[in-house]
């Protein structure tokens, strides 16, 4: 066996870095490495004759026990023998490409196929995103949420109006009840006053009792004249009458005062009734104003709440749209769909800017009186059958009406 003087050893020293640097020695070491890898004494087939090579084979390569279990793999650092073989076939620095092998062609084809699959996948994703943008699908459940918000708005307004109507009904009923009570109370007072318009002085008339000459007959019996006595009778009568007249004058004065007082009481009663009625009216007006103000405030609060909710939904939809547009542009697509080719469903993406179409959908309610008119204008090729089918086909547009 002609072993090169190359300092070759089994085990860890048989590494690529220890490989000879010249071509002739490289050829020799190729055999050395191969035999060493087989667990035999390193042998250079290039240097030996055929007989020597056969002898070596018989002695070392045939009917020999395999590598011992647990033995250290001398090419573990190269990924085993296969790794080392692959490395020596072209993976090393300065090595050839080996591209003309069937394996390489298969590998190349596989890579091309994978790349194509990846490209197709990306294209489909891009088309899907463009379709999402064009159809308004990026809005997700925004229209459903807007519908719920609209329902909430309707129900909220109905509840507020219901509370207002109930409150106004109570106020008016309370006013009617109160007015009835006032009418009853002051009606009773008026009835009393009218029934008791008495004037205790009206019939008070002091009558002067007559003064008599009780001795007229007596004086006449003695022949005495009654004239002086009669004069006294008249004087006494006059004195008494003067007293009665003064009294009667006083009664008339008090009677007049009483009548005036009675009239005043009646006036006061009517005034108090008017005052109470006016007060109730003012009270009712104030309560009604409070109810109206409360309704307006509640409506304003509800509208603000609804607007905030709508804004949040639209903001989320806008953000989703912006993100979608960024993704489309990032994948090399265009917002009008021209770079995407046929759509995922085999149909060509509709011409025109996807952004513009999405805008059309957003503003459809402002531009068309109803869903059907918007559908006819924006999708002239759609064959309309039923409203339900059309709404199912175009949910984003339907959500605008």
């Amino acid at each position: 066996m002609s072993v090169d003087s190359y300092d070759w050893v089994n085990g860890a020293a048989a590494k690529q870095v220890n490989r000879p640097r010249t071509a002739d020695r490289y050829a020799r070491t190729q055999s050395l490495i191969t035999t060493a890898a087989a667990g035999q004494i390193p042998y250079n087939y290039e240097a030996g004759t055929k007989a020597e090579n056969d002898a070596y084979n018989r002695a070392n390569m045939y009917n020999q026990a395999g590598p011992k279990a647990g033995a250290v793999d001398p090419f573990a650092a190269y990924g085993g023998l296969a790794g080392l073989t692959k490395m020596l076939q072209g993976g090393g620095s300065g090595g050839g490409s080996g591209g003309d092998s069937a394996l390489d062609w298969a590998k190349f084809n596989a890579e091309q196929s994978a790349a194509k699959n990846a490209t197709d996948t990306q294209l489909r994703a891009l088309q899907g995103m463009q379709g999402l943008l064009a159809s308004g699908g990026y809005r997700g459940n925004a229209d459903t949420l807007l519908g719920l918000i609209n329902d909430q708005n309707t129900q909220g307004q109905a509840a507020i109006q219901g509370n207002y109507d109930t409150g106004m009904g109570n106020i008016n009923a309370g006013y009617d009840t109160a007015q009835g009570m006032v009418n009853t109370g002051y009606g009773n007072l008026n009835t009393y006053l009218n029934a008791n318009q008495i004037n205790p002085y009206a019939n008070l008339q002091q009558q002067s009792s007559p003064v008599n000459n009780a001795m007229a007959n007596y004086l006449s019996a003695y022949g005495v004249s009654n004239d002086p006595v009669n004069q006294q009778v008249q004087a006494s009568q006059m004195a008494n009458q003067q007293g009665a007249d003064s009294y009667n004058q006083l009664q008339q004065l008090m009677s007049a005062n009483q009548l005036s007082n009675n009239q005043s009481n009646l006036g006061l009663s009517q005034m108090a009734q008017n005052y109470a009625t006016t007060g109730l009216g003012s009270q009712r007006a104030a309560y009604q104003a409070n109810a109206e103000s409360s309704r307006a405030a509640a409506m304003r609060a509800l509208q603000q709440q609804i607007e905030d909710a709508r804004f949040g939904v639209e903001q989320d939809a806008g953000n989703a749209r912006t993100e979608l547009e960024k993704l489309i542009l990032g994948l090399g697509g265009s917002l009008d769909g021209t770079f995407a080719g046929p759509g995922v469903d085999g149909k060509t993406v509709a011409p025109g800017s996807a952004t513009a179409r999405a805008d059309d959908v957003d503003s459809a309610a402002d531009n068309y009186p109803n869903f059907k008119a918007a559908l006819a204008a924006m999708n002239p090729n759609y064959k309309f059958t039923t409203m339900a089918a059309a709404k199912k086909k175009f949910p984003a547009l339907a959500g605008k009406f």
């Binding site: 409150g167 109570n170 106020i171 009923a173 309370g174 009840t177 109160a178 007015q179 009835g180 009570m181 006032v182 009853t184 109370g185 002051y186 009773n188 007072l189 009393y192 006053l193 008495i198 205790p200 008070l204 002091q206 002067s208 009792s209 003064v211 000459n213 009780a214 001795m215 007596y218 004086l219 003695y222 022949g223 005495v224 004249s225 009654n226 002086p228 006595v229 006294q232 009778v233 006494s236 004195a239 008494n240 007293g243 009665a244 009294y247 006083l250 008090m254 009483q258 009481n265 006061l268 009663s269 108090a272 009734q273 109470a276 007060g279 109730l280 009270q283 309560y287 409070n290 409360s294």
Partner: protein
């Protein structure tokens, strides 16, 4: 404070009771006054009737009042006696009439005051009912009050 019918009735009853009490007292006083005055007048007339013959007899004993002699002094004395009787009884009657008139006046005034006081109670009742009505209305208005 809501209208209280029991309190209203009690006020009216107290008012009427006060009026009845004072009226009864006034009536008693007036009747006593009348009785006293009429008795005094009757006593005075009796006294005048008793003194008249004595006056005539006195002038008869002095010969100034006989069947043939009618002195001027006798006539004047008799006329003065009669005038005094008319004057006294006239004054007494006038006082009695005035007393009765004032009793009637007082009764009327107290009755007028009773009605006025009842009117005040009725006014209070009506006002209280009106206040209650406003309060009830406020309750009905609820949160809008």
């Amino acid at each position: 404070m809501a209208f209280n019918p029991a309190e209203y009735a009690a006020k009216l009853q107290a008012l009427i009771s006060g009026f009845n009490t004072s009226s009864s007292r006034a009536l008693y006083d007036n009747q006593s006054m009348n009785q006293t005055a009429r008795r005094a007048m009757a006593d005075a007339n009796t006294e005048y009737d008793r003194q008249a013959p004595q006056l005539v007899a006195g002038y008869g004993r002095s010969g100034r009042n006989t069947a043939n002699v009618k002195s001027g002094a006798f006539s004047k004395a008799m006329q003065d006696f009669a005038k005094d009787r008319v004057d006294k009884t006239g004054q007494a009657q006038g006082a009695l009439d005035t007393g009765n008139a004032f009793y009637q006046s007082d009764l009327g005034e107290r009755q007028a005051q009773l009605k006025a006081d009842q009117g005040v109670i009725e006014q209070d009742k009506a006002r209280q009912i009106a206040d209650d009505a406003a309060e009830l209305m406020r309750y009905r208005a609820g949160a809008y009050a």
